[in-house]
Symmetry: C2
Subunit: 219 residues, 2 copies
DNA sequence: CGCGGCATTGAACTGGGTCAACATAAGTGG
DNA sequence: CCACTTATGTTGACCCAGTTCAATGCCGCG
């Protein structure tokens, strides 16, 4: 179980905590395994705490009228559900695993307590929330100001940057839900980019052949 | 100048501060008047501090491809530009007055200092940022999941709630930019609602005749 | 009064969605 | 390892909500 403490220390928000504080978190947190496709929380639930993704992949999304819009996908250790947990209201969105995952749950009160004791955590949390606000601003821009080709182009660039490689796995389906498009449209845009000689595709792998052109198209 | 201190105390974020701290803020803050249509900051600027709206109305928006998407409109005392100011990076969006306004500027460092001295401010700020995250989540939902009629319906309800009155001023233009629609589409949806007997309109005033129907249409 | 900003209405256009058929990959169990 | 089933991706034909363009109306104000 030293394991868990070592893991917690990896998370920027918690990295500065003392051995003792981390042990405390370990004690109050609940670890759960979720199989792929399990709903972690939904908008009808009041937030009683927040979550830390330990392993796996989670999508945060809104749904309505039979459609769904992904707000964010988390695939590396981080926390989520923190905004609602902080206000104590209902979660504003859905959270669902898209891979088998392990997730910690931290009760709201315990965390507030912890933060009171160590204001540094609060500052860290502020920084993270500030970044998330900026991220959402970018998402709004993309959703309402860009056309399909530009969305797909910038999405490819973003993902390539994330894995720091010009070749990487790509799911048309997930891209579509993140970008507010249909899989058909994403597929068509990929074909277009392929025919323009900007990317290559084999199987579920994509490779960028002309980064500048992509940048151009991203606007 | 007691005036300014009394004003600062109205703002939830700062309301708990001591006389002395407020005086300090008063000293470090810069008050400026802006005429309608003045840009306060834009995405090419690094955030050196954040702003408090004292009087007037400000829109925060993204622009690209000749279009613009309003992210938020502030019309009552509150602060803005805080996310970027916190990370110290560029502002993610534009800010522009849509009425003659008075706005305070608080340098970044001063504020960080203040927060260090009084962690309670940090907690308040967290609460506000959490709410803003939730707000943006709602905006994303509206932009990508709702159709025009539903957007306009919920917009009308929201505004009526804000002024706590069934009759209120309404700008087709601004509504359009907030909702990610064109003024023509908004106008058409209003006509539709009028013909359904759900709202009434004369001049720039709108009146809700059937709130339940509106709620229904908002989904 | 006449001008400039805002709103309305109609007609035509279009980007992306929808539907359907098919292709390819990825599990799954015998 | 193969056969079968279930996800995921591709392509074409058609459709439609909302945009665009253009004309016209309305009203507040110098």
């Amino acid at each position: 179980m030293e394991d868990l403490i070592r893991f917690l220390r990896q998370i920027p928000l918690l990295s500065e905590l003392s051995e003792e504080q981390l042990t405390r978190i370990k004690e109050i947190s609940i670890v759960r395994s979720y199989t792929k496709g399990t709903v972690i929380f939904n908008p009808s639930q009041k937030a009683e705490g927040f979550y830390i993704l330990k392993k796996g992949k989670v999508k945060i999304y809104k749904s309505g009228r039979g459609k769904e819009q992904i707000i964010r996908i988390f695939s590396r250790p981080t926390f989520f559900g923190e905004a609602a947990s902080f206000t104590g209201e209902n979660f504003p969105a859905w959270a669902e695993t898209i891979e088998d995952s392990e997730i910690l749950f931290i009760p709201r009160m315990e965390f507030l307590e912890l933060m009171k004791r160590d204001p540094e955590i609060g500052m860290r949390l502020l920084a993270v929330m500030a970044q998330r606000l900026i991220y959402l601003t970018g998402l709004i821009e993309s959703l309402s100001l860009k056309d399909a080709l530009s969305k797909v182009s910038s999405y490819i660039l973003r993902n390539s940057k994330e894995v720091d490689n010009d070749e990487f796995k790509f799911s048309t389906n997930i891209a579509a839900m993140e970008l507010g498009l249909t899989k058909e449209t994403v597929s068509r845009m990929l074909s277009k980019l392929k025919s323009m000689g900007i990317i290559e595709k084999n199987g579920n792998l994509i490779r960028i052949k002309n980064k500048n052109a992509l940048l151009e198209l991203s606007e």
